[in-house]
């Protein structure tokens, strides 16, 4: 009987342990007392490519769809490019001081740690804002930046370019 009773207590103990662990996570508790993850603010840009609520719920679907298009068909639009996520959401830091995805200060990890969902993107992909390809140079008339940033010979004003960047890039 004693053993059975202690078994019944197990879920309660686990719940208590879980709550204790959750309270150790640095969170921004709202007025209602519900803990929330500390999501770093975007480094640049005012609005994501889609409404924030949609991105929070569906970003993995958009990324998965885009990854197959890029890999197999060579479609390299910027809108759902993983590098674009990192360019806006992860600050560019000097060598040795980068915030890596192993840290909860990394934009992706902040939520994923909170939700208890493992990310496997960064086993292969860089978790840092994009860098330029070593042989890219301005002599060829191309801007410095990663190859996806194609604005060669543009006659657009800075304002128009900004709008394109926010609106999802050159189609």
């Amino acid at each position: 009987m004693v053993a059975v009773r202690s078994l019944w207590r197990l879920p309660a103990l686990l719940l208590a342990a879980g709550l204790a662990a959750a309270s150790m996570v640095p969170t921004a508790a709202r007025a209602d007392g519900v803990p929330r993850p500390d999501i770093p603010k975007a480094v640049k840009g005012k609005q994501c490519v889609l409404p924030t609520e949609d991105m929070r719920k569906n970003h993995m679907k958009y990324l998965l769809h885009h990854r197959d298009l890029t890999m197999h068909e060579g479609i390299r639009t910027k809108k759902f490019d993983l590098r674009e996520c990192l360019d806006c959401h992860v600050p560019k830091e000097p060598k040795g001081q980068e915030v890596h995805v192993t840290s909860k200060k990394h934009f992706c990890q902040a939520c994923h740690a909170y939700a208890g969902v493992k990310i496997d993107c960064f086993q292969c992909h860089s978790d840092q804002p994009s860098e330029q390809s070593p042989h890219f140079h301005t002599l060829s008339g191309r801007p410095i930046g990663h190859p996806g940033h194609k604005t060669v010979g543009t006659k657009l004003s800075a304002g128009e370019l900004e709008a394109m960047a926010v609106g999802g890039g050159v189609k």
Partner: protein, 250 residues
Amino acid sequence: MSEDQNNNTDLARRRFMGGLAAAAAGTAVAPGIVLVATAEAKPAGQAVTSKVRWGMLIDTTKCADGCDACVRACNEENGLTQHDDPLRDAQWIRKVEVKNPDTGYSHSFPVMCQHCAEPPCADVCPTGASFKRADGIVLVDKHICIGCRYCMMACPYKARSFVHEPLHDQKSYMPRGMGTVESCTFCVHRVDNGETTACVEACDRDGHKALVFGDLKDPNSEIAQRLAAYGGTQIRKDLGLNPGVHYKGI
């Protein structure tokens, strides 16, 4: 004016215009530096098509013994030298030295993924991770590669590498990870942007100009014209794989 004269005038005019176009295609900006217009990049949102077949011509008579500029450029571009140890780092391109023992004649040339029209790696891949893109570039979709290395055994060119150890600080445009097979991508991230490959750029920079990259299906491309005029050899042509990499002088 007779019809004959008319035709001659037209021909002369056409030649003159052709000369102008050729002059415009390569613009000298300074002595020794010439800007050459490369193929127009496809729009980013457009899928690649089989109207293009990317290929490379390697002129082994121009490839210098002991020069490894292409190999270094590839390593740097794709971030392959993480361990700084050739025994552990991936190898996408290598210099091969060949010598005829009878005559003593030797020369060297680079060998990389030959981007076969009938890639055996893709044939044997159990998951579909090894595949050929519509424009002829053979790639590994590392999202679905299980690291079985069957493709490495199937490749007659020994062109592929397996990543044995965890990697970090990958290039943002070239994702690479442990447990997957990889090989030369023809610098697909550059090609999709209208650029040429890193190895070709390095060879040109060093003044050898032994490598030509371009569209085999475009009769006006430099590679197609040179192949048409001077011919070329494919390594192990007998296998019937129709590689996209052609060699001259072997």
